[in-house]
């Protein structure tokens, strides 16, 4: 009997089981696409919005408003003070101008659109009243591919997908088999434990290609996301990521007896990474004190490496450190999982 025959049959069975469950197909293929479309649309690049300001009613209000409205990209409306305050609070206007001597700007300096409004309003006002430029300048507007939100998002979603399918694919299936006594039944046969675990990994790898190709292909074709790095580099990173999360999934499932328990554990492990690891927004947003912890997380490492390769065209050597972090998590998880695995 070739060693490969049981491994082949186990992998084939696992693969068929996955394909015959529509939920699996949804989470693996459809969900990341839907997320990409929804978020890509919501955060698509739009031409700069018109800045809205309110001018408090009173003496001179109308002339101030007229001055401001003479400038393109700025829209001023005269409002009674109470209304103006309400609009400022709700975000209907970014700034309130109170006519008088001196002229008063009321705005929230912690909001970037308010800071922008203050600059634009002041510039428009001063220009209308006679300020002249000292130095002649020219403009050249550039839109680099790779700097849009969707470009940032796609590699992040790829990493997220690898984490989700890796952990759930391994973890849920293992606990389910344990709970149904299927694992016990299999172990009563000559099947080897190593064959059993390898088959999960093999089945995972088979779906990996189409899964990644679909998401990346969609990003490139539908949104024009640039793919600057080599496909081989991307493939290697994807493989490392998939194996890392397969290992984590195995570890999570190593002793759990019920689906509830493994679900809880999975969420506990994945939720922080959903938020911290730079999937939907840059992890640099978090305070500096948290950065070492964040950088050490496997999904952060994977996302950073993927972004460097896909968007910046980095070579594998350049992303060796995050790739190694990801790989280390995988190896350690597998090692510990095998030690503590509850087989029967």
């Amino acid at each position: 009997m070739a060693y490969w025959r049981p491994l082949w049959q186990l992998t084939l069975s696992r693969f068929k089981e996955q394909l015959r469950q529509p939920e699996v197909l949804f989470w693996v293929f459809a969900f990341p696409l839907l997320l990409a479309v929804a978020l890509g649309l919501a955060f698509r690049n739009r031409p700069p919005e018109v800045v809205r300001v309110a001018v408090e009613a009173g003496a001179d209000a109308d002339s101030v408003a007229r001055l401001l409205n003479g400038s393109r990209g700025l829209k001023a409306a005269v409002l009674p003070p109470a209304r103006a305050a309400e609009q400022l609070r709700k975000g209907g206007v970014a700034l309130v101008v109170v006519p008088g001597d001196p002229l008063l700007y009321r705005y929230d300096s912690t909001r970037s659109e308010s800071r922008l409004a203050r600059l634009v309003t002041d510039d428009a006002l001063q220009r209308a009243l006679g300020r002249r430029d000292v130095r002649a300048v020219a403009e050249q507007k550039v839109m680099e591919k790779g700097s849009r939100y969707i470009d940032f998002l796609i590699p992040g979603l790829l990493g997220l997908n690898l984490m989700g399918t890796g952990m759930w694919g391994m973890g849920y299936a293992v606990v389910d088999a344990r709970r149904r006594k299927l694992m016990k039944r299999l172990l009563a046969s000559p099947m080897r434990r190593s064959e059993y675990l390898l088959s999960f990994i093999a089945a995972r790898l088979v779906l990996l290609g189409p899964e990644v190709a679909l998401l990346l292909g969609f990003g490139v074709l539908a949104f024009g996301v640039p793919l600057r790095g080599s496909v081989v580099s991307v493939a290697v990173l994807v493989l490392i990521g998939a194996m890392c999360f397969a290992g984590l999934g195995l570890l999570t499932a190593s002793r759990a007896r019920t689906i509830e328990m493994v679900s809880g554990l999975m969420n506990l492990i994945m939720m922080p990474m959903w938020i911290l690891s730079g999937v939907f927004f840059s992890s640099a947003n978090f305070p500096a004190a948290m950065q070492p912890l964040i950088k050490a997380l496997p999904l952060t490492a994977l996302n950073d490496a993927l972004r460097s390769v896909i968007l910046d065209g980095a070579s594998l050597g350049a992303v060796a450190v995050p790739a190694a972090i990801c790989a280390a998590w995988g190896v350690a998880s597998f090692a510990v999982a095998l030690k503590i695995f509850r087989w029967l």
């Binding site: 186990l10 015959r20 039944r185 000559p190 029967l344």
Partner: protein
């Protein structure tokens, strides 16, 4: 097939298993001969499954030793697994694989075995070969479980409560499969709480209760140990004073009396002498009979006489 039919297929000595504060198996000695169908009969919680799982090498005993086909689990696990077939209690196999796919999977684990088609025919699931497991009935699933146990062409077949929850027709179909396996020379170890199953299928039965064997022998020997082969059950109406147990025991042909409220069970050697005697006794006391049933003694009656309890909870 074992070449040496004189040596026992399975022996275990002083087998012990404890779980937390419960002793599931409390010192068991068993010997299963090659080619026989050996039954473990007992109520739920008697320790049958634990015992069988220790024999199957799935549970490590806390004490005692197990030897199968001259081999031990600690030394010869790989070799042993090739020669055993196991059907566990309540296994749910993969829902969305077909019957043939499941059997093929198990077939791949063995160095040599029977073909998928052959096994499908033995368990009469041929027409369901391409059906998903989740679409099968209870009886069909059990037959599939046995098919997976048979696909490696085992020397010993372990069946843990194989017909629990099945309708009578499915039960009979399954018994036929087991009987066919035995005819082929295989050894069977069966656990059950159905006395009819033990009586029909097993060459020898070990009656278990609370982790110990309380009786061992062929079904006929065990029933004969009751002292009599017939049982008379009757119930009395309300009102007049019932007859004393001693008076009932003194009736012709009665060897034992058991009372449960107003229901009486008499173990009797000759029904045609005991019943008239009983009726006369009741008429003398002016007591009314509300029910009267007689049947051949069964292992259920044996268990009742040994422990005062029933095999089945219902």
């Amino acid at each position: 097939m074992p070449t040496d039919t004189a040596a026992p297929a399975i022996t275990c000595r002083a087998l012990v298993k404890r779980y937390k504060d419960v002793v599931a198996v409390a010192g068991l000695d068993l010997e299963v001969r090659a080619g026989e169908c050996f039954g473990l009969l007992g109520p739920n919680g008697a320790g049958k499954t634990t015992t069988v799982e220790m024999l199957e090498g799935l549970v490590v005993p806390d004490g005692g030793e197990v030897e199968l086909l001259g081999m031990r689990w600690a030394r010869d696990e790989r070799a042993l697994r090739e020669r055993l077939g196991v059907a566990l209690q309540e296994t749910k196999l993969a829902d969305r694989l077909t019957v043939a796919e499941v059997i093929r999977l198990f077939h791949s684990f063995y160095r040599s075995g029977r073909s998928v088609e052959e096994v499908l025919e033995v368990v009469a699931l041929g027409e369901k070969r391409d059906a998903w497991v989740e679409k099968l009935s209870g009886g069909q699933r059990q037959r599939l479980a046995i098919a997976c146990a048979l696909v490696g062409d085992p020397d010993i077949l372990f069946l843990d409560e194989p017909t629990t929850g099945l309708d009578p027709q499915s039960r009979h179909q399954l018994w036929e499969v087991v009987a066919a396996f035995k005819r082929g020379g295989g050894t069977v170890v069966l656990t059950t709480h159905y006395m009819e199953e033990a009586e029909r299928l097993c060459d020898r039965v070990a009656v278990m209760d609370h982790g110990k064997v309380i009786a061992l022998g062929t079904p006929r020997e065990l029933i004969a140990s009751l002292g009599a082969e017939e049982v008379v059950e009757f119930a009395l109406g309300e009102g007049a004073a019932p007859p004393a147990d001693a008076a009932l025991a003194a009736l012709p042909g009665v060897t034992a009396v058991r009372r449960d409220g107003s229901r009486y069970t008499l173990t009797v050697s000759e029904v045609h002498r005991a019943v008239p005697g009983l009726l006369a006794e009741l008429q003398r006391g002016g007591v009314e009979l509300t029910a009267l049933v007689t049947h051949h003694a069964t292992l259920e009656d044996l268990f009742l006489s040994l422990t005062g309890r029933h095999l089945r909870d219902e």
